[in-house]
């Protein structure tokens, strides 16, 4: 009601909210994180372009992981191919089929955990949808973000996709066995680009095919396990 004359005009009320638009996603992510913490499961959000070698890195990890119990939720638009590959490699894996969605969100991961023996795992890899843009926006409840960047993608990708690399705790520079065939790509240029988009640039060059660098990757994973402090990283 209009205060001045009582004419019946509706009143325009400003309401200050000052809250994240994705606060709902963040609440579910915090819930996932609590679950993982309670059961001592180290959850890693693995992101990267289509074809960056995310699934291949996990297959190679499984070959070397010894008695570590590995699991994976694989985000996939239309197929279960990645989950099938991971299962064949000995990883307890399940697909999250996203349909047209270009990323996983915390709710999809939460649903993915149902009917999945995640409590028995040491590591849960959440293999995100292949995409260097959208997945970076959504917290899933992970302890760390890992981005796979293949040398074949070129050394300018960190500068072109700064949002994704800013969120990375580690960049796995994959397919380095192909470097001799790529005269225009240099490892130094990739590392330099990463330092301009990541405040704490950490990268490990690996080859899932030859096993180069896999020991460093496994040591890094072990450090996440020892120092896992979920509450401080929200």
């Amino acid at each position: 009601m209009c205060d001045t004359c009582g004419c019946g005009d509706p009143e325009i009320v400003p309401v200050d909210v000052h809250d994240k638009i994705l606060a709902g996603n963040d609440r579910i992510a915090a819930h996932n994180r609590e679950h993982f913490q309670e059961r001592g499961v180290t959850a890693i959000n693995l992101m990267g372009s289509p074809g960056a070698g995310k699934t291949a890195v996990l297959e190679a990890t499984a070959r070397l992981a010894g008695r570590q119990r590995l699991g994976a939720l694989a985000g996939d638009l239309a197929t279960e191919r990645d989950a099938d590959r991971l299962c064949r490699a000995g990883i307890t894996a399940k697909s999250i089929t996203t349909g047209s969605a270009c990323h996983l969100d915390a709710d999809m991961v939460h649903h993915g955990l149902h009917h999945f023996p995640w409590r028995e795992l040491d590591y849960l890899f959440i293999e995100n949808v292949g995409n260097l843009v959208c997945p970076a926006v959504y917290d899933l409840g992970q302890v760390a973000n890992v981005v796979a960047l293949a040398v074949t993608e070129g050394d300018d990708k960190p500068l072109k996709y700064p949002v994704m690399f800013r969120k990375a705790d580690l960049v796995l520079i994959t397919k380095i066995d192909l470097l001799p065939h790529l005269p225009d790509v240099s490892l130094e240029a990739i590392v330099d680009a990463l330092a301009r988009v990541m405040p704490r640039p950490v990268s490990i060059p690996v080859s899932s095919r030859t096993g180069t660098g896999m020991d460093r990757w496994l040591r890094w994973l072990e450090q996440q396990r020892v120092t896992a402090d979920y509450a401080a990283r929200i």
Binding site: V17, I21, C102, H103, P162, V163, R196
Partner: protein, 113 residues
């Protein structure tokens, strides 16, 4: 195109706030989108124009403010130049993103009978 799912989250939040205050319609939304948030303002505006139909925001203007990225040293406050390595040249500390990752709903102006 995650901008569509961000608009869905925005509309749900606004609807809840409007419902709590028995608002009959919404006049204006003020949101802030950071340069390094991963959200493209133009795509967000397009998604908003599409999805607001038949919601309480049907006639609500979207006041979208973009925020430039600003990196600085957490110790000395020195600004990091655009495109430079994200380490303080003086303190050698990793830079902190002082602004530019916002995906924020700041204000809703609603019509209350």
């Amino acid at each position: 195109m995650h901008e569509y799912s961000i608009v869905q989250a925005l509309l749900e939040r606004v609807a809840a706030e409007a419902h709590a205050r028995r608002a009959t319609s919404v006049h204006r939304l003020t949101i802030r989108i950071g340069e390094l948030s991963g959200v493209e303002p133009e795509l967000l505006a397009t998604a908003y124009a599409t999805f607001r139909e038949r919601t309480i925001c049907e006639r609500a203007e979207l006041d979208l403010r973009t925020i430039a990225a600003r990196w600085e040293c957490p110790d000395c406050g020195r600004a990091i130049s655009r495109g430079a390595p994200l380490t303080c040249a003086v303190c050698a500390r990793p830079a902190r993103l002082a602004a530019g990752d916002e995906i924020m709903l700041d204000r809703i102006e609603m019509e209350v009978p």
